[in-house]
Amino acid sequence: MRDKLIRFFFFTNGMAALILVLLIFGFLLYESSAGFSKIGLDRYLSEDFVSQDGTVVTEKAWQPTSDEPKYSILPLILGTFLTAFPATIISTLLGVCTGVYISEIASSRFREVLKPIIELFAGIPTVIIGFFMLVAGATFFQEIFGYVFRLNAFIASLGISLIIIPVIASLTEDALRSVSGDIRMAAYALGANKWQAIRNVLIPAAFSGISASIILGFGRAMGETMIVLMASGSAPEFTLDVFKSVKTMTATIAAELGEVSQESPHYYALFFIGIVLFLFSFVINLTAELILSKKRRNMDY
């Protein structure tokens, strides 16, 4: 009896997570469905306007409260990638190196100290990081790089890196730790020094784990809201320049959903952004999961 109860308890808890995700997705679809008919998929990309003199202007702009509302989410998607990509590149360089250092080079006593400290970094509230970049970081880097827009995609991506570096470092370390001791010993027995063992044996062996950590870090960067809201400048510009102000999908939802009038096209458009964001992060997490499960299968040999 008790056995059954306990089993039921864990079953419901396990299922609750799954059902919640499905419900959230269903809710997003339901709320944005009216937007498909009222706005139309093509207007979410770009829209043509005819001026008085007959010239046609194709606008890719996010101006939902304008007299001529424009709902293109392309600038917002660009904004998300302009902050997430640089952040992932910076964190990959620093995070993988940190992971390698902790796993392979640091003495075991130092590792005991270093690992918790780095993981603690991931626990800094993002609003603190955003505030720091807004007040201090932006001016500091403006003096170094001399860019025009004080708040820009680059500043936001630096802020995001601070929270992804620990994610990547910690997962990289786990991946390297899980490389079997035999392989490590074999490399050293063949006369490899530390650098050769890391470069030619350990990193290739842990490659799938490391790439999964990078992909997960990228997913985290895309979903980050508070830092980009505060530090990216929030200008929905159609641009590929990292030193310009951008507005991300997450920041748009956060900034506008609280004030939008319900059941207006703007409201549905915000839910559509939610769906796009959901799909992006779903694909990213799925990819990481596939890589990891493939790795697990390979290790069974």
Binding site: S51, Q52, T65, E68, P75, S245, E259, S264
Partner: protein, 299 residues
């Protein structure tokens, strides 16, 4: 086991009973529903709180949603008062009359915008036309106005804010070439007027706008003098004592508007009493404290 069950049952009934009591109390109160402009939500909420202290028999529900929502709820009768931050347009009045509704307008407060630049900027005066060119992205360098040769950086508010709407209405309002103008997309949207002040005080090339009350005490910002297109003199909304109410009341400073409460015809006694409270001295003191502009003083 049985005992525990009983306790749970009894406490459950108790909770239901308490909820019931609560509802009973609400029903006996007169409920006034107010919907509309997001600019006015906080202000109306403050009026309602203070008014309900005087009249505990009245419960006032305030929700936002924008002036459009306000008009809609006035037309379908779901609100006693519609908050609207502009005058009703001709076609809206026609539509209301067709539905048998007589919109009655009461001015309740004013709202104004100040333009701010960094104190390092040598420019003191701009016209409405200049502002239009700057914020729609046609002119992008300060040297076109006699300033330094550097790019103009625009700071504004989120597209849901009332100041954004007012600025768009007054400055970018007119159509050009068959298309309505809009803010250039390179304008950075900030989350509040204080962070906007912070941004402009850190940026020698920046220009921004916000409610007139917010900047009166800041020395690290310069308030611009604004000139109407057809007038010679430029005016600042502030003087050494803070907001310069007389300049705003006599219409010389262009970036202002009235805020209105609309009702269907003559409102009933309770609603009228609330409107009377709003335009009374106490009501207008709240307006001043909330950093809006009170109605012109008529002596």
């Amino acid at each position: 086991m049985i005992k525990v069950n009983k306790i749970i049952q009894i406490s459950f009934l108790g909770i239901i009973f308490l909820f019931g009591c609560n509802k009973e109390n609400l029903i006996s109160k007169r409920i006034i529903t107010i919907r509309g402009s997001d600019t006015m939500v906080n202000l109306t909420q403050r009026w309602a709180e203070e008014y309900m202290k005087i009249r505990p028999d009245i419960s006032i529900h305030v929700t936002g949603g924008g002036s459009g929502t306000g008009i809609a709820s006035l037309l379908n009768g779901t609100a006693d008062i519609a908050n609207i931050s502009r005058e009703l347009k001709g076609n809206e009045i026609e539509k209301a009359i067709k539905l048998g509704i007589m919109p009655k307008q009461t001015s309740v407060a004013m709202d104004g915008i100040a333009l701010i630049v960094n104190p390092e900027n040598i420019i003191d005066t701009l016209s409405i036309e200049d502002l239009k060119n700057i914020f729609s992205g046609k002119i992008t360098n300060w040297k076109d106005f006699g300033g330094a040769d550097s790019k103009i950086l625009l700071y504004g508010r989120e597209n849901s804010s009332g100041t954004y709407e007012l600025f768009k209405q007054v400055v970018l309002g007119k159509k050009e070439g068959g298309r309505s103008l809009d803010f250039t997309s390179s304008m950075q949207a900030l989350q509040g007027t204080s962070s906007l002040g912070e941004a402009v005080s850190n940026d020698p090339n920046g220009i921004g706008f916000g409610g007139v009350g917010y900047f009166s005490l800041r020395s690290d910002l310069k308030i611009l003098f604004i000139k109407n297109d057809n007038s010679v003199n430029a005016y600042s909304p502030l003087n050494e004592n803070g907001v310069n109410y007389s300049i705003i009341w006599n219409g010389k400073y262009p970036l202002t508007r009235y805020l209105y409460c609309y009702t269907n015809g003559e409102p009933d006694l309770d609603v009228q009493d609330f409107l009377n409270y709003i335009v009374s001295k106490e009501g207008q003191d709240i307006v001043r404290n909330m950093e809006y502009i009170p109605l012109p003083e008529t002596f």
